[in-house]
Symmetry: C2
């Protein structure tokens, strides 16, 4: 059993550029403090219905700023990042694939499923591949040694659909409303630019 102080819950949407940037940093942050990251891809669209927010990039003035800030933050982190030609996309199959891989992979602390997340994000925001396309997701899984036929069958299963709905509902119950969103020891941190507060909180056990 992993306690609240041993893990960082990391919520994100595969369509979120800030989520992508955060995904390139979160494991290193956790490793510096011997914490484990629990990856939770969710559907922000369901969350936006509750908060009444729109995606940043769809808002006048804010969207232009966010485009610039995403590129600037990526350069600062030396992470390749470009806005994909198709944006935003439906991230349902990518999320479902992650939760299926996680179920297959319990003994290894979900390393394969987490690597899948990272590669899906990279495919979308660095390589401009359309990750709403199942064939592309299956291709990524296959390069990781996954039986892509088995995954393809699983993606249509009712259990897996329910699993994603549950994860998104749980996220909302925990107050998650954006991407990335981290929860450590019951304390919520929203946004890539709250990584420094998250790390200080871990180091100093709060303040």
């Amino acid at each position: 059993m992993i306690t609240q102080r041993q893990k960082i819950d990391f919520y994100f949407d595969f369509s979120s550029p800030y989520g992508y940037l955060a995904a390139t940093q979160i494991d290193e942050l956790a490793a510096r403090h011997s914490r484990q990251v629990m990856w939770h891809p969710i559907l922000l669209g369901a969350v936006f219905k509750i908060t009444g927010r729109k995606a940043l990039l769809e808002q006048p003035l804010v969207g232009d700023y966010a485009m610039r800030d995403i590129a600037r933050s990526a350069r600062l982190l030396s992470v390749p990042c470009r806005m994909p030609d198709r944006f935003p996309i439906i991230s349902v199959p990518a999320c479902r694939a992650y939760y299926w891989l996680k179920e297959q992979d319990k003994e290894q602390k979900s390393q394969l499923a987490i690597e899948f997340c990272k590669q899906v994000y990279y495919a979308y925001f660095a390589e401009n591949r359309d990750i709403s396309n199942k064939a592309i997701l299956l291709d990524i899984a296959q390069t990781l040694g996954v039986d892509s036929k088995q995954l393809e069958v699983a993606l249509a299963s009712a259990d897996l659909k329910q699993k994603l709905r549950n994860e998104t509902s749980t996220a909302i119950e925990r107050g998650v409303f954006g991407s990335p969103f981290m929860i450590y020891d019951g304390e919520p941190f929203w946004g890539l630019d709250h990584f420094d507060q998250l790390e200080k909180w871990i180091e100093s056990d709060g303040w």
Copy 2:
């Protein structure tokens, strides 16, 4: 004439808790790099009409998080901060008073007007005083040695009303949509948690 690289334009709304926290830090940040801060109180309400956003604290889920994050950020900065009983308030008279003080005070680089901003923010977010109340604003001005009767007359002047409208319009033209919002050398930085990027940008002349 102050060049784009000698100054930091600092936009904020007197009703914004993050603006208050930023106002306690921005002059020190600028001083570390021999930059001058140009203070611009504006009316975010006018900006929200364009972006379609609501104030953070009015949004479901987001509001609860923001309350917690504001208190947490204030503790980290060792800045006294509490949510005022009346929130949000009309900040029109406080803004107008600032621009009048600034006009009176050109030779001293607006130090008196800036001090007024800081004291108004402190009165609101540390002392729970209602800064939409003109009597309270006049009182704050008087303790700074200002002729409060002259200020009271000025607050009703058409010129001053137009000045605030112009400042808010200019802010929108420059892409300002939140509080705090900083522009340095043409580069926009949104939010207290972008102070580190702003400072890095000044230090390294961009990246």
